[in-house]
Symmetry: C2
Subunit: 315 residues, 2 copies
């Protein structure tokens, strides 16, 4: 297992860079005026596969490959990680087996196949997915890679914040959405190593505020409800991500569904970019706590741009 | 009146640059694969006011100001030019009077006001708009600026293609949408001065194909129908724009409404940027004539990104 360190993060970045886009950091005068802060949007919606997930996926596959022959990788995901692992494995010429619930939208299955992933369908319970992934691993020798709760994945996700810091000199805050905690954990590591005092902040839908409650309780909490438009943030913290977040993150700001939709609308309308609801949670958090961010240089990780254009929440 | 020349275009660019964003030129591997061409998208959706119109508007206001005291500018528009002239005039500390039909969406009136424009409402006939604009001009001394049929405006619009050429070295084609002809005329001038053989091509909705028919007939033709989703392209060529287009443009590609919507969906989904239907007409034209563009370095002017997010055509 990897030890977290500044050198490990830089080494990870060096390794995965050839497989990634260097995504731009955008600013918006109008959103600065609206928020009272200086906002720097790290646009991972422009990343390969449409989200930051390719960072951690590529790092994990590269690391497994370094450890020896790799007959394949397997994961269960119906979201961005499914596409990301398929793309990462394709670039490294390794088969990627993706377990998806039968009920997942056909368009998502097609996207995975388009990126070379081999889709296995199963029932939509977590148990069924885990059983199927284990069976594929046993049968093919493929190694399981978790979408978030994996140190290599978390370190990979931290390279988005690393680039953001490289491109902005200094930031007072870096706000990242939190679901499984891979992105927030990696962001927190990057901030602590290279942030010169940048404070990492989590942004989470109130409807699935397990990370907020986990930090309060000092142990990993679950969600009873998964009813949020930010479908990338329904997952909960894990054994690797929770300790890192517990150590480095003091603040998680929770936002309402209407605030997420409003923030998403603002980004689309004002910045003319397509971002998914999970990304908009960051701007929603900044707008929710104006006194905290007033006059502050604030980075926001725009996690991705994969949305169903035929079913948007705007009215 | 301005004489068209390479020097005049460069001088125009030099003058208006301080008031503009240098918009990026984006590429998309996926859209290259789909089209068989090498596409370079000049993203004026990221321009101030959300469209290229600020270029011509700023140039026109600056030129009028050079000619002497300028008590104000006036135009009639319910589209992007209304916002652009308001912004341009605001930057130059001159009042902008904008005549809009009563029936225009409230959100468009608000956008103009937000940019400092003074809105006058009138009936929605062209005659009523012209009468009202003339009245305001007489009363306030404001000078009328046409949204497209003005040499200063046309030259200003040509600076988008100028920047595109500067940022891409060489292009085989530059595709621009055509409505009133300011953008296509300016693009054609830029291509002829600095394109080293770049061929300008117009892209037009079949439903309002006045420019196509005007070139065929050798005189300005009208539209009987204005039923297109590309609402920026309903206008017709004018006395200044037609001769320039007649001289420099040989080809106008016409596209169906469904092709415009499909192209717009492709750009949003694959490039993660918000563009308006009028912009998507350019990609629709490229996809309509694959044999012409195969293997060719092709610039596309993405004219703007002002859309009503609550009323999108995607299904």
């Amino acid at each position: 297992m990897i030890a977290y360190s500044p050198e490990a993060l830089l080494e990870c970045h060096r390794k995965i860079q050839p497989y990634l886009h260097r995504t731009p950091v955008l600013t918006s005068r109008l959103l600065n005026e609206l928020s009272g802060a200086s906002l720097f949007f790290k646009c991972e919606n422009f990343q390969r596969g449409g989200s930051y997930k390719i960072r951690g996926a590529t790092h994990a596959v590269l690391r497994k490959k370094e450890e020896g022959a790799l007959p394949g990788v397997v994961t269960h995901s119906s979201g961005n990680f499914a596409q990301a692992l398929s793309l990462a494995a394709q670039a490294l010429e390794i088969p990627a087996y993706i377990v998806m619930p039968e009920s997942a939208p056909e368009v998502k299955k097609q996207a995975v196949k388009q990126y070379g992933g081999i889709v296995y369908e199963c029932e939509s319970t977590l148990e069924a997915r885990e059983v199927e992934a284990a069976r594929i691993g046993k049968e093919t020798g493929a190694i399981f890679i978790h979408p978030s709760n994996d140190p290599d994945v978390m370190l990979g996700q931290g390279t988005a914040a690393l680039e953001l810091l490289q491109d902005t000199d200094t930031l007072d805050f870096i706000v990242a959405p939190v679901g499984g905690g891979g992105l927030l954990g990696g962001t927190a590591l990057a901030a602590s190593y290279f942030g010169k005092g940048s404070v990492p902040i989590g942004a989470e839908p109130l409807a699935v505020d397990d990370a907020y409650r986990s930090l309060k309780a000092g142990k990993i909490m679950g969600n009873t409800n998964t009813d949020t438009i930010a479908d990338g943030l329904k997952t909960v913290l894990g054994s690797y991500t929770f300790p890192v977040i517990q150590k480095h993150v003091q603040t998680i700001i929770r936002v309402e569904e209407t605030e997420i939709i409003r923030a998403m609308h603002l980004i689309w309308e004002r910045m003319k970019i397509v971002v998914e609801p999970s990304s908009a949670v960051t701007l929603a958090a900044v707008l929710k706590a104006p006194e905290r961010f007033k006059g502050k240089r604030t980075g926001l990780i725009i996690s991705g741009g994969n949305v169903d254009l035929a079913h948007l929440p705007f009215i």
